[in-house]
Subunit: 327 residues, 2 copies
């Protein structure tokens, strides 16, 4: 009988074999994957690498999330980091450790969810590792991408006076977690919470921000607005002023309703792009069909302030999705 | 109070900052790491990528292994894969999930063990991910390397008539596991079992095998000789004949004694190189100061046979380290 690991490798091989990518030489089945990255002395590139864990009962629960959703979200975590740098994703690697009790069907559906998204973005799954886990499903996704040399969007480029923008809407993913925590037995419909169950990484938006030189700094909202804005401020050595009225809050659930401000401020895993642009720069209100909303500006002082709807201004602390999420 | 994760990132940043590597542009602290890989139109390269889990109670135990040993072994897993392709390691990424009960000192010593080895091989730790684990320490190491274009040593290059060689000695790592399992309370001295606690990846050997065109196929012995030879045979579409008398068995423990044949045949995590070479090729008995031992030859038929010391020949099944290791 094949071990779960052997069966898994065979499964991934079969599935990954469908994808095609001229940059990949040898994929699954050797000690390393071999990538032949595009090489043009006229258009030199930088290589982007990102790694992200997806751990059972930390990032997902088997009774809350379908295997397809877990696979999709797993890859989105990596692709979203590439998007935040304005990069083009190229290849993915999956390290997957499974407990003995995971049904083969779960793995197949997980891989299907991951590969469907990979195909959408022209990403090939080229390798990884498999192991037995003694407790819970453990996945680590590695995504490689490229960007023209020296052109990656960094967190460190924000300057005083720059305007702050965010794509899409915030808090939708956290709202789903909150709803599931309130009522752990009821399965949520992914259709009512798409940004939680099947978030699309903002690859095209990131690329346009880079190509059109719109953004001075960028990050994806994986940890929540307050934390991710703090990351930009920290790396850039600046502060920020934002307005609660301006923050685009997600509409979720059934009946559709707007999420609370707290969720939009601190809830993570929306995988939108948060970026800054020099004051004079005209930023379209939609880019790649995604609404772009100005929410404030960068300041010299190294603190972040929020002005609420009553005009009262107070310091905004990065509450952090990690703590917010926990039961 | 800083969360364990924040403290960890700070720790890694501080430690990794010591390393220097001209190929690394932006390391820890942005959405992705940015690598500027060497680019020469005259000497084009392929990029190698490998990922490997190191999971508590699967790959190590906190009461058996010092944190330095866990960090060292974690990186060796990745470096050894680069060695098996004849590559040059360049950069490493660490995804690390920690339970709340892990002391800061453990993490610091783990990172120290990992970075000491990284420094030895000119590898920079440039990124990764941190998370909270609900059960056990979970690490995933990703190593990137380079190799001249089209020159990587593959598993698939073995041809009938090729001789089979192995570097160093086998079974030493498994012997340590066996000793610890027999007497779980007693701490083994790493000095008596160096290949288990502080295995050196065979980077220089792999590079020489490639440069001198010695090897037709190669793999590292991470899963154990019987399994790793089966991998070469499977990928090359061939079989093999090996002699038990010829297999170099490790000497371990105190008093020093040779390990049983079973451990040398099936015990994994020795991180030696197993390679094949065309029959006519003269292979030195030492390469890069490491003994090289011929143990058999490649055949046309897709099975692996072992001839024992009494001249009796029987089929050798890949028993597999994964099963062997488990209690």
């Amino acid at each position: 009988m094949p071990t779960p690991e052997k069966a898994l490798i065979a499964e991934i091989r079969r599935a990954a074999g469908r994808a095609e990518n001229s940059a990949i030489r040898t994929g699954i089945g050797d000690d390393c994957a071999i990538l032949r990255l595009p090489e043009h002395s006229k258009n030199p590139i930088d290589t982007l690498v990102t790694t992200d864990f997806t751990l059972e009962n930390v990032h997902f629960r088997r009774n809350w999330h379908s295997p397809e959703s877990v696979g999709h979200r797993c890859l989105t975590r990596g692709l979203s980091d590439i998007a935040a740098m304005g990069g083009n994703p190229l290849a993915a690697f999956l390290s997957l450790a499974l407990p003995r009790d995971v049904p083969q069907a779960w793995v197949r559906r997980f891989i299907f969810g991951l590969l469907s998204l990979a195909e959408e973005y022209g990403v090939t799954l080229v390798g990884g590792d498999t192991a037995e886990s003694l407790s819970g499903i453990l996945a680590d996704i590695i995504v490689l991408g490229t960007v023209p040399q020296g052109k990656a969007l960094l967190r460190s480029g924000a300057r005083p006076g720059d305007r702050i923008y965010v794509s899409g809407e915030l808090g939708g993913s956290a709202a789903a977690v909150l709803a599931m925590r309130k009522n752990p037995k009821r399965k949520l419909s992914p259709r009512n919470y798409p940004r939680h169950f099947f978030p699309e990484p903002r690859i095209k938006l990131g690329r346009i921000l880079r190509e059109k030189k719109f953004a001075s700094a960028a990050i994806d909202t994986s940890d929540g607005l307050s934390t991710d804005l703090a990351h930009i401020c920290e790396e850039s050595g600046v502060g920020a002023e934002i307005e609660s009225n301006a923050i685009p809050r997600a509409s979720v659930g059934r009946p559709l309703h707007e999420v609370e401000l707290d969720l939009a401020l601190h809830g993570g895993e929306d995988y939108e792009l948060l970026f800054t642009a020099p004051r004079g720069k005209r930023i379209p209100s939609r880019i790649a069909s995604i609404p772009i909303t100005p929410i404030g500006h960068i300041t010299r002082h190294r603190k972040i302030f929020l002005t609420n709807r009553d005009g009262i201004r107070h310091e905004l602390r990065p509450l952090g999705w990690e703590h917010f999420r926990k039961t």
